[in-house]
Amino acid sequence: MSTASRRAQLSVSDILYKLLFYSTLGMFLLMVLVPLILVISASFRPLVEIYATDVYLIPKEPTIQPWIDGYEDLKPNLLNSLYIATGTVTIALVVAIPGAYAYARTSFPWKKPLFYIIILSLLFPHVLLVIPITDLWYDFGLYNTLPGVWLGHQTFVVPFAIWIMRDFFQKMPSNLEEAAQIYGCTQWSAFVRVVLPLAKPAIIAVLFLAFLNGWNDFLFANMVTDSRGPQPAVVQLYQTINGGSGEATDWQLLMSESLIIGLPPVTLYLFARRYISEAFAVSAS
């Protein structure tokens, strides 16, 4: 059949639908891409070009000075961010994997209400927790320490991780572990040899989300640390907004720092992408 006769069969509603579909898609694309392109453009401009009156995308005298300055500025904080994110991931996995497995496979009193409490804690506005936690961390000696930041992040990360992993474990046929037990495994070794390798997508998804949370979070990190402690890069970015040369904001620096901070999560996402979609697929493969 020729395309012409195919097109002839399109009804008005088909055309309208396609029109709406692509225009919506285009709008969202613009909303995401335009700021990103502007940010990239600004990060390569010298200061004089930031306040230029005419609009253009490619800088006339491109420079990587903002990137060099930005990196120098963020260097110690980027390391802090890495420590914070890695610690957050580790604690989240250590707590959530066995926790989620217990919720998926065993029965114990109050199992359902306890699980709903965990889910409910996700709905709780975390902003409200910041003040009491900061206060408690002072008392516990956790203020301005890495463990303090790690634990603070768990209030959000652990419930979320348990939720994802429990669903994944539940979808996994329990016959697999039973087969392992028939052929020589204990419950524990069946878990290690069969369940964990198969849970890789869920584990990687949780790892990524916990890392993202640890890396990007501003609120907790800003409250429970100061410049003497393990302050992450995002908090330093905030200083850049107010810093600069007094009156003016160093936009080119701000933009390059934003991009520097954004790069590690993006890289991680490229690696984790395949697993994340698998973990969130409706049916487990």
Binding site: E178, I182, Y183, T186, L198
Partner: protein, 387 residues
């Protein structure tokens, strides 16, 4: 005729009398097994007693939810029974861990480990349970694969295999362990019909070759008949009858079994017993038949008792109108293998007659129906067979 009593014929061939005397009375003994769920409110299995010999192929047959799978899981250790004991080869294993029972289990849905190759799957048990050398394991895995005709798939991932091949790998994973017995939970239920037939023949051949007991769970009566040396019919968590396929088919203990076994299923007519001197008649709303070869004094029902008359479709015959015991109208005619199944209704009761293909023309709808009266079964009000 095929010799169903396998124990006598096999013993003489393969097991010397001296060896046999060292064996325990029964290879597998299950005594008084009871299993409940939901704090005892749901009884899955009750008072289950069974002996299995070393080379027996036992089939647990029953409708879904009858407790057959639960029983199998109790034997394997995947469930622990509330009461009763499981004795394997003289050893009480009732509360042993699954891995310590030396049993193999093949599941209905395929449970190969998707992150391992076929070779690693088959080797899994050997890796976990034995100290064999690498070469020894490799040899065993390859021998097993050869026997099951999956040698060329050894280095593939299980997901790249067809359903039949995957289930062969599951069987291979079981076989390589040389277990005391094989437990199979509807292993072929998800395969298409042709493949299922082929796998049935293969598993039976395999069982004969290995000479080890297999317990096979199915809800498919034809599968059970094909495979079993001994069939255990279950319903509502209880054993209804244990017997050879011939016994089950020809001498059902109760109405449930009579109806459950056979295709098309046994015809049942409700009626009353009439005793006239030494002669016994069964009277239904639509006809009356005399029972041959039984005397009133030996008969387990008295005059006027309600009975169910059961007769298999192949023992009923279509004859010209008014020449049989009663007349009935044909509803439909279907082809059933080499037979035609002719569906009738008389009064309110539907029934089926099988005749060789093409013998009955349904141009005339009303036909006479005749019985082989010596093939009639009678069941009392409690649905137990009394004749």
């Amino acid at each position: 005729m095929y010799q169903w009593d396998m124990s006598s014929s096999r013993d003489s061939q393969e097991i010397s009398p001296a060896e046999q005397t060292q064996e325990p009375a029964h290879y597998i003994d299950i005594n008084g097994l009871r299993k409940t769920f939901s704090n005892g409110t749901v009884v899955a299995v009750d008072d289950f007693n069974l002996d299995i010999e070393e080379d027996e192929f036992v089939v647990f047959l029953g409708p879904s939810g009858c407790g057959k799978t639960t029983t199998l899981r109790c034997i394997s250790g995947l469930e622990l029974p509330d009461e009763g004991e499981v004795i394997l080869n003289g050893r009480d294993v009732t509360f042993d861990k699954p891995k310590d029972r030396d049993l193999a289990f093949v599941f209905q849905n395929i449970t190969l480990f998707p992150h391992m190759t076929v070779r690693e799957n088959i080797r899994f048990g050997l890796d976990m349970k034995t100290d064999l050398s690498k070469d020894e394991k490799k040899r065993k895995v390859e021998e097993t694969a050869e026997l099951l005709d999956i040698a060329e798939t050894l280095d593939r991932q299980p997901t790249a295999l067809s359903g039949g091949q995957q289930q062969r790998v599951s069987i291979g994973r079981a076989m390589v362990m040389e277990p005391t017995a094989f437990l199979l939970d509807e292993p072929f239920a998800n395969l298409d019909a042709n493949l299922r037939d082929r796998m049935q023949t293969e598993i039976k051949r395999l069982q004969r070759e290995l000479g080890k007991s297999m317990i096979f769970v199915t809800h498919d009566q034809e599968e059970a008949m094909t495979l079993g040396d001994k069939i255990v019919i279950m319903e509502d968590g209880e054993i209804q009858q244990v017997g050879t396929p011939y016994e089950i088919y020809n001498q059902p203990k109760n109405l449930f079994i009579a109806k459950f076994i056979g295709s098309p299923s046994t015809n049942i007519f409700e009626g009353t017993a009439k005793i006239n001197g030494e002669e016994i008649y069964i009277e239904t709303d639509d006809f009356e038949v005399r029972l041959p070869n039984v005397r009133a004094s030996e008969f387990a029902a008295s005059n006027g008792d309600m009975v169910f008359l059961g007769i298999r479709p192949e023992y009923m015959h279509v004859v010209p109108k008014s020449e049989g015991i009663f007349n009935a109208e044909i509803d439909v005619k279907e082809l059933h293998g080499e037979h035609d199944a002719i569906y009738f209704t008389v009064g309110e009761t539907p029934f089926t007659v099988t005749e060789p293909q093409g013998q009955v023309q349904d141009t005339e709808r009303v036909k006479g129906v005749d019985f082989d009266t010596d093939k009639i079964w009678l069941f009392n009000e409690r649905e137990e067979r009394i004749h």
